[in-house]
């Protein structure tokens, strides 16, 4: 089995701009009304002047234990041996939604045709685009960078083989991952309690986003 690809997320660097989810829709030619394969949730607490907000960007985590794959009756969902990416063969899907029940992250989405589609780490394009594709390659080897990673202004999202993502994560995040946080399905940086540091990072990101948006 090849090395498992996985996502990394740093909530301290996320500015909540939704570039990840919008670019995902564009890459995969998804309707504006369609459910997002990648969602950005804004968690808030407190009231002015002690108001705090924490944006969280999430998608299919391509779990090492893929609960969706286990429950899929027609074996339409595959946890790939070669790169660990979870894909769906929509020519087998019966649209029973059982994967939606089983997924802890609410990743499966269902279109008007009732068939499941979700993030395929940009292995291919469009619903079901990942199924049957050759092994995921890194960008430097000619592979496509996941659009969410490519378009994240704050570099809050990363993706790659587990060892490489672990090498880029902070010691605290790596340790937590090794301690089975999130069932070792995704590497997440601890939330920086230093509000000033976090605000600075977000300010930088927001300036970059403003510049990009003209």
């Amino acid at each position: 089995m090849g090395e498992q690809w996985m996502f990394y997320f740093d909530p301290n660097r996320c500015i909540g701009c939704h570039a990840c989810s919008i670019s995902c829709k564009q890459r995969h030619d998804r309707d504006a009304e369609a459910d997002d394969w990648r969602t950005v949730t804004h968690l808030s607490s407190g009231e002015y002047p002690d108001f705090q907000e924490l944006p969280i960007s999430m998608s299919c985590m391509h779990c090492h234990d893929a609960p969706c794959e286990k429950v899929c009756p027609p074996n339409a969902i595959e946890k790939r041996e070669e790169d660990g990416i979870v894909t769906v063969d929509r020519d087998r899907c019966i649209g029973c939604h059982y994967c939606g029940w089983a997924c802890p992250y609410g990743a499966p989405t269902y279109g008007d045709d009732g068939l499941m589609s979700k993030c395929n780490m940009c292995l291919g394009e469009g619903p079901g685009g990942g199924h049957g594709q050759p092994e995921k390659q890194k960008a430097e080897d000619g592979g496509a960078k996941p659009s969410c990673v490519d378009n994240c202004v704050g570099e809050a999202i990363k993706a790659g083989p587990q060892s490489e993502v672990m090498a880029e994560a902070s010691q605290a995040a790596a340790k937590r991952f090794e301690n089975e946080a999130y069932n070792a399905r995704v590497i997440v940086e601890p939330v920086d309690e230093n509000a000033e540091a976090a605000a600075e990072i977000r300010e930088e990101g927001e300036e970059a986003a403003d510049w990009l948006n003209g």
Partner: protein, 362 residues
Amino acid sequence: MAQRVIRMSELSLFALFTEFHWLPADYWDLSIPVYLYLAVVAGGAYLTGASACYIRARREAGPCCLENEIARWGFMLSVAAAAGAGLAVLSHLAVIYRAILFPIYLTNFGSWITIGTWILVGLSVFAVVCLVLQLFGENAAADDGASLFPRAIVARLGVLDTLDELVDRVRPPMNVFAGLHVVGSLLALATIYTGFELAIVETVPLWNEPVLVPALFLISGVAAGIGLTLGVTLLFEREIGPVYGGYATVVGVLSGISLVLVGYGWQALATSNSPAAAASYVHLTTGSLYLGSLLVVVGFLLPLVAGLAIGIGALTGRVSGTVERVGGPVLIGSFGLLVIGGLALRIVLLLAAEQAPVVVVG
């Protein structure tokens, strides 16, 4: 679907960061509780029919006995419920033909949907075979009763004699017949899979009870299947004798066990530390779902009281004149409530479900 996320750096922040929503309706289509329910009702009705055949054989009862009526109604309702379950689940699917071609498409035998499909189809086949054997042939021709109405339909088609002859020709010997009932009864009990379909969903604490939920689904569904068969039988055969009393007692006992399981689950939910369980508890104790919860309790309580009181009386031959007069309507009413309560149980369990939020560790 927007995913709920909470941050747990401090427990006090929990409420601030927690936002519970109803899960999107297309996940919890009404067809799902109907499917989960009718599959077990089919099992319960089959068990009633098979056991009536067994009692008839042991008592060496002749034609026109109550066991014949119970057996035929049991198998008939089993076929109808299994067909209803199948149609309900098919109506929920996006690509129906792939589900109909299940031997080709449903290849993941680790999935409860695949396992359940084979169980339901197997039970349907056994129920149809048993029903045909009960409805046609020399013995059925000599029998009498409302449950024989399909014979009138077949007679209108002009093939009744042919069918009677054919069924007598292929009728298996007694030991094969008994084997048929044993396998069919095992399939009927295997409808416990409907509980496992929910119980394995780890992210919903309301369902994630691998013993409680399957046991509750099986016992309450079988009780409803037996109750439904008895209720329909009693509509046409007003006599409450020892055989009927025995069945009514069983329904009472099963309703009581269901009630105990519901109470245990309720207690576990009320004392759970999981936020999703707490949210489910709030749903079940407020608004329309509270009425549903009450319906579930009443739906098990009345058959418990009526089934045991009238059932044990009839079983032991100690039924007073008054009880004999009102016993029929009371049993029909309480068994009807049991059937409604069993469905209400599944509906509230699905609608009150809350998925455990993803935790962002601070």
